[in-house]
Subunit: 336 residues, 2 copies
Amino acid sequence: MLTGPGEISVQERDKPTIQTPRDAVIKVAAACVCGSDLWPYRGIEPIDGPTPMGHEYVGVVEEIGSEVTTVKPGDFVVGSFMASDNTCEICQAGYQSRCAHVEYVGAGGAQAEYLRVPLADGTLVATPGQPADDLIPSLLAASDVLGTGWFGAVAADAGPGKTIAVVGDGAVGLSAILAARELGAERIIAMSRHESRQKLALEFGATDIVDVRGDEGVKAIKELTDGYGAHGVVEAVGTQESMMQAIRSTRPGGYVGYVGVSHDVELPGEELFFSGVHLHGGPAPVRRFLPDLIERIWNREINPGVVFDLQVDLDEAAEAYRAMDERRAVKALLRV
Amino acid sequence: MLTGPGEISVQERDKPTIQTPRDAVIKVAAACVCGSDLWPYRGIEPIDGPTPMGHEYVGVVEEIGSEVTTVKPGDFVVGSFMASDNTCEICQAGYQSRCAHVEYVGAGGAQAEYLRVPLADGTLVATPGQPADDLIPSLLAASDVLGTGWFGAVAADAGPGKTIAVVGDGAVGLSAILAARELGAERIIAMSRHESRQKLALEFGATDIVDVRGDEGVKAIKELTDGYGAHGVVEAVGTQESMMQAIRSTRPGGYVGYVGVSHDVELPGEELFFSGVHLHGGPAPVRRFLPDLIERIWNREINPGVVFDLQVDLDEAAEAYRAMDERRAVKALLRV
């Protein structure tokens, strides 16, 4: 629970129960702290009283509502942070995070022992069996950061022959590098000024590192691409500077995939018009990618869980927040 | 020539000549007045002394530079308003209006007897023969408004099964309706409050008319689409209101194709992020579409030339500007 700026406390709460026939209750195996959790933690986003935190989770189904058919008690599941029916026209087009009946799964707080997941059939995906312990961090990553980075890379049109740049070296940006590699990008330019993150970027498939940003960063990308700019750029920060850096680093007709939640961004229409880029992003429809991501993780083709550079027990959640707030950790996993 | 706000004068000027081996000089058969010509005409965009006007043209090749190989004297040609080499990576990807060696063809003024066209091989497309007189308006439309509307419809992902809305009922918006129909859209909603333009919209393939705009317009589109919003929206105005109307009328995951030149537009990042739309537009790469458009016109499959509801001789250019400025004409053709 977040009880005030910088105040995380672990409290006994009532166990969530099935509230509609389409709900499931899961016993959480692992959860984690998201960059977006830091906005209220830092007091920048106000909270309305004590607030359950967390929206990234993996766990075992404990109980299901009478209409749930695709998961059953005992299944190990991964779910998206947005609940979706997966049947409406928006879901069918692959935009489950904007489902006509969307609900925020994090409302109940995923950093907990148990979590109610609405619209379970359209939100949760069961793994082929009980996962080995060492797969849990990667499966947990799939529930948000990997799915989000993957969406960014898809929106940036990553694929064979393409040069993709990634603005932002947090867990999402790093995951986007991994996604771009898996999607077959020829060249992947990580924009990062932190040595430890550069190292992880290279491990995930970056072929080049650019350690300057803003206008200098744009210039560096142009120099690496015969003056044209990258074919696609993933924006994984959400500020005015990072958005403009992404747009200006992209060649005319290229693709900007932006997945950093926008904060105080205003895009100048005329510059955007003459840039000629494709701009696409928003809250990632993680559910679209989950079956594929789970398969790649299960088959040990990818290991996105290495973004968790801190693991603590749920009781020590306060330390996880502090470490991320102080940038001592890229991403903290909470063992439940 | 535009000599000051509201002042169009027809003057004797030197005949343009070949300046580089890649140039062509054409004898203009017809030109026209663009909505964008009205900005300097109205004094909103300043001019730096007397300015040759016009960038839309069809005509007969008079002379070519030594390196020109794809058109020859006597060919009837249609060209884009932006000259492109059609060989650089940007052109090859279909974004000729942002060619690495782009030049503005209108610099010399297409509302004239003769026009120098730079990069002739990459800019001009010859028709299969000398066109019948009644095809000339349609071929002229292809050089800008049709090509621009077509790009808008492509950017809005118009195609079978799709509901496409068009914001703006000028020549470009009307052309986008025609394009959406040709691309197979199932339903085409024209947003127009002018009876004469509504009529043309229906002739071009609109299936529904919405005669309110702003929030009311958005509401009307949602009501016509089961609450989801259109699959794609073409924006053909370029104002803050029309851009927001287009974005808000599009369903999450849908496509906004914006081809109205942006004037004083600022897009709010957070709303755009959560809209989940694809946003793409800019100066249309008309050259990409010209071969296809010429073929459709030549075979009399489409008749985009009906957007010209005023035809005058070049000598009467001032009247063409006045008629468009006063909204007595949608689009004026100048016979040369």
